[in-house]
């Protein structure tokens, strides 16, 4: 298709405008974290670092950060194991119900978070609670792991599809045992995809709030829950802005790393 220079130019302008639109609110947040005014008056009234200092002393925010890290690590660990197993099963074997398996893996992310939240909440209330497992970090991790599996699964599956199975066959033809083949051939092939999937899964868990709301207890507050609880408190709002600014800047790291480590960036899988 030969596009006229005018059309190319229009498309370029639209694309850059959309990127600008994506980043404008983020820039506003970062700007506000330096804004002297407590009420986000626009244009800003002056530049200050006092909110940054206050945020670094905020025990609520730091506790919540720690809770989020624990929940993210737990959920990622489960998702890495289960997602990798499912990806190997679907990519390396043919079996009846294969499509159902991949549909099941996608389901927790395709259904609205509130449904996953209400469903898990109902189960934790009626099944887990009588067993002595109350709401808390464990239930949050179970909830997060459920929708993180698909992220690892997608990354590993794409890698397995790209690398094929000829190296594995060659390895076992040369006399390697199953364990040796895994240790020296399969694992090095999927290692970077594993890291990319784990990073994205951690990021997803770190930012999740809906399922967390329904699976957490009042004393277990993840960072998003802390932000939500403090968003409308005039005293805390500037500190929330600082935390938000930090999160925005940090978000670049997993995305950039996963793009470098993962498969070709055009796979476009979420």
């Amino acid at each position: 298709m030969r596009l006229s220079p005018g059309l190319r130019w229009t498309l370029r302008v639209i694309t850059w405008l959309v990127l600008l639109f994506l980043y404008a609110p983020l820039v506003i947040v970062i700007m506000n974290s330096f804004n002297k005014s407590r009420t986000f008056a626009f244009p800003p009234t002056g530049v200050t670092l006092k909110w940054w200092h206050a945020a670094s002393q905020s025990s609520g925010a730091l506790d919540a950060l720690w809770t989020s890290v624990k929940a993210g690590l737990g959920a990622t660990a489960i998702a890495v194991v289960l997602g990798t197993m499912a990806a190997f099963a679907v990519q390396r074997y043919n079996f009846f119900g294969k499509n159902t398996v991949s549909f099941l893996v996608i389901l927790p992310i395709a259904l609205p978070g509130i449904i996953t939240g209400i469903a898990l909440n109902a189960t934790f209330r009626t099944v887990f609670d009588p067993l002595g497992i109350g709401f808390g970090l464990t239930t949050v991790i179970i909830g997060h792991a459920t929708f993180c599996i698909v992220i690892v699964y997608n990354n590993i599956q794409a890698r397995l599809r790209r690398t094929g199975s000829s190296l594995v066959e060659a390895s076992s033809d040369l006399g390697a045992t199953g364990w040796q083949t895994f240790r020296f051939v399969t694992f090095p092939m999927i290692r970077t995809a594993l890291v990319a999937g784990a990073l994205l899964a951690f990021g997803l868990s770190f930012d999740e709030i809906v399922v967390t709301t329904f699976t957490s207890s009042p004393d277990v507050q993840t960072l998003p829950l802390w932000i939500f609880a403090n968003l409308f408190r005039p005293n805390q709002a500037p500190i929330v802005d600082v935390v938000a600014a930090v999160l925005i800047v940090l978000a670049v790291v997993p995305v950039w790393l996963s793009q470098r480590l993962g498969d070709d960036p055009s796979s476009g899988r979420i």
């Binding site: 980043y23 209400i118 109902a122 009626t126």
Partner: protein, 297 residues
């Protein structure tokens, strides 16, 4: 050489062990690989959805507020015959459709530019640029829109006092903003799979760009748009937080569900209400499955 000898010497000994057992039992290996993920997804996830359905049939004691575990259709009856809930459901579906359409209209030219016009380096930069906001805090972005649309905020400042204010429109704008990357990425991947040769063939056969877009590009990327729409549709159906932040008094289905569970502490009614978005998204998934969208998610 010693190492190689060791390896060959060690190999036969290992052959008798666990490795050899699994090497011959392909079905066993598959069963083991599938067992844990399926146990989790079927028992923990589908099981939970089952518990949710069952709990929708329970009631609460009007005096103590405790859940009474006797089967009754009262909650479901109340939900599906109430004009109030239907009105909220329609408002939510309207917003989901509006958000999906807005995102598709924005994503198509952007993804086309990224995939077919931009240079390799620009493309990589743009993919990262679209992905990054996805991992920046969702709450913060919703809150940024609250700041943007505030009576004395930047939008009002830039448009001389004209802002949509907090309400339905503000919610649709904010949600369209929040879910845009979920639409751009699958559509971009769809364009990447569309061979350039097809576009050239169409143009060699005399088609103008408009005709090529209508007859070649759109039919080929439709499954990708459908895949993106699953996210935009489902995420909108389940959102109550952005609605709460920029929606003013506007209520979506998820707000009502949240209110029943957390504020009114009526878990059975919340579960009954949750069947509404569940049915909507299942119908949507079934409709989209025929387009091949699920392979693009």
């Amino acid at each position: 050489m010693a190492g190689a000898q060791e390896l060959t010497a060690a190999a036969p000994r290992n052959r008798g062990s666990l490795s050899a057992f699994f090497a011959t039992k392909r079905r066993t290996r598959l069963a083991i690989l599938l067992s844990a993920p399926m146990l989790w997804l079927v028992v923990a996830y589908l099981g939970s959805l089952g518990v949710m359905f069952v709990s929708a049939l329970w009631t609460t004691d009007s005096f103590t507020g405790n859940v009474v575990k006797t089967v009754s259709g009262d909650n479901l009856h109340a939900v599906y015959t109430s004009p109030v809930y239907w009105r909220v459901a329609w408002r939510t579906v309207e917003a989901a459709i509006a958000v999906t359409v807005i995102d598709a209209i924005i994503a198509l030219p952007v993804a086309f530019y990224m995939s077919k016009i931009a240079s390799r380096r620009t493309r990589l930069f743009m993919v990262v640029a679209v992905l990054t906001p996805l991992w920046a805090s969702y709450l913060v972005k919703a809150y940024a829109w609250r700041t943007l649309l505030a009576p004395d905020g930047p939008v009002s400042w830039a448009f001389a006092g004209h802002t949509p204010g907090y309400g339905f429109t503000a919610t649709v704008i904010t949600l369209a903003y929040l879910w845009l990357p979920f639409m751009v990425l699958p559509v971009f991947a769809g364009f990447e799979r569309l061979p350039n040769g097809l576009l050239e063939a169409s143009s060699d056969l005399g088609a103008k760009p408009a005709r090529t877009i209508r007859s070649v590009v759109l039919p080929m990327v439709f499954p990708a748009v459908a895949a993106g729409s699953i996210f935009t549709f489902s995420l909108t159906l389940g959102d109550y937080i952005a609605v709460g932040i920029v929606g003013g008094k506007t209520q979506f289905l998820a707000n009502v569900i949240y209110g029943q569970l957390i504020t009114a502490n009526n878990q059975p009614l919340a579960a009954a209400l949750a069947t509404m978005p569940l049915i909507a998204i299942v119908l949507y998934l079934l409709a989209m499955r025929r387009t091949g969208a699920l392979e693009n998610v």
